[in-house]
Amino acid sequence: MMAEYSAFSLLANALKGNKDWKPAWRKPDPKASYDVIIIGGGGHGLATAYYLAKEHGITNVAVLEKGWLGSGNVGRNTTAVRSNYLLPANTRFYEHSMKLWEGLSHELNYNVMFSQRGCLNLAHTPAQFDDYARRGNAMRHLGVDAELMTPAEIKRLIPALDISSEARFPVVGGLMQRRAGTARHDAVAWGYARGADRRGVDIIENCEVTGFLRDGDRVTGVTTSRGDIRARKVAVAVAGSTGRVMQLAGVETMPIESHVLQAFVTESLKPFIDTVVTFGMGHFYMSQSDKGGLVYGGDIDGYNSYAQRGNLPIVDEVMSEMLALFPGLARVRMLRSWGGVCDMSMDGSPIITTGPLPGMYLNCGWCYGGFKATPASGWTFAWTIAKDEPHDFNAPFTLDRFHRGLVIDDKGQGANPRLH
């Protein structure tokens, strides 16, 4: 496929007054039936459609999105990409994702602005530093880059950070993954959408699924706000809406709770921090966007919610944590805040599997780490849909692992979704 965006096409279109650019995806009406329907036009659904078409030659595919493309969590996250996990199942999966990220702009011929600026987890106690050493060793054991940093090295990397012994929680070291970084979240949605569209996938916006068509147990399609659509295979990739959609299919309970996570951005500053930094004595993470705004967030609000907005206690907590690390930011104004609905699983790890009903495929449980997983989630979900069995990368991420005692609890928090 010839590159649609190139220096040559840019020049040629500029000379013609930029009148001939094609929309990045069509706006087709839904057909009566498809080979595969993917419910959810977020990053994961679009990536799944792209890899179904590209890797498996399955192009008679519809992606159904209830709002507009990218209106959900793919446009609401804090854009960090990393693969610094402890448990092998997670490390292998997220490292596969990292490798896909590293080639993604080229793969999609779409600049997703993937910037490997590193991700530094700060340690504030010797025990925490030891724990990071253990995690770093676990990562390196599986071929993922990790290095421990001293306070002096950290100060050179992030001059604005308060590493003095007078800091509320003095920094004793950190764990750095250099290959981690950030990406432009909207571009990821748009790039996958265009790649899928050009291969024949119908991306249908403003099309809300209202129910499932069934033949006995078997799922044979969906009812939508734009009519009934049949399909041999129906894939669900709806993140925070998993509970609602599965209830439409008659699955009453799931090992999932929906929670709201808030995120924040400040006014634009001159270059301030050129890595992703996380606080170890609470839950806080921050990076600086190319526009100059500091993009940051912390914990989920901590109660079940489908509202894409949160409450003030978390706002207060996140700001406090920011100032504990960077007292110099006290006068910087916050520009915007927003919320996204996260599908918190009972062990903090995702679910990518066939079933639970015949004809159905399920992708959920991303907690608040779904953005970095987008390429591997789509890649493994497409594999699972095409072959009716999981790839090695997602084989551990079953739905029945909870009842079988095979949980993948990276943080060791137990079945308490608000703590993952």
Binding site: G243, M254, P255, A307, L312, F402
Partner: protein
């Protein structure tokens, strides 16, 4: 978000600790019904709408409360004691104030 504690009246959510889904039924501790235990520990209704949940007024009277809250709007429609004597508590509260 304000939660109206039966003892303390309307208080900011920051005074409360969320203890999760109140629909779950803990099996008898002696039960060896693994499915019932698994369901208790892992399975959630996770409704979009009214949700029956448990909160503790940890920054106040420390009572455990059963709250019905809409997960789409965060609107709270009822608060009672988790142990279930909501009416008597509300009455006591009213008498205390009188």
């Amino acid at each position: 978000m304000l939660i109206t504690c039966p003892y303390c009246g309307p208080r900011d959510v920051i005074e409360f600790t969320y203890q999760g889904d109140g629909n779950r039924e803990r099996p008898d501790p002696a039960s060896q019904n693994f499915e019932a235990w698994n369901a208790y520990v892992y399975d959630r209704l996770n409704p979009a709408g009214d949700h029956n949940e448990i909160w503790q007024h940890s920054g106040g009277c420390r009572a455990h409360l059963r709250v019905v809250r809409n997960t789409l709007t965060h609107e709270i429609s009822s608060v009672g004691f988790a142990r279930g004597d909501h009416a008597s508590a509300a009455r006591r509260n009213a008498e205390d104030k009188a």
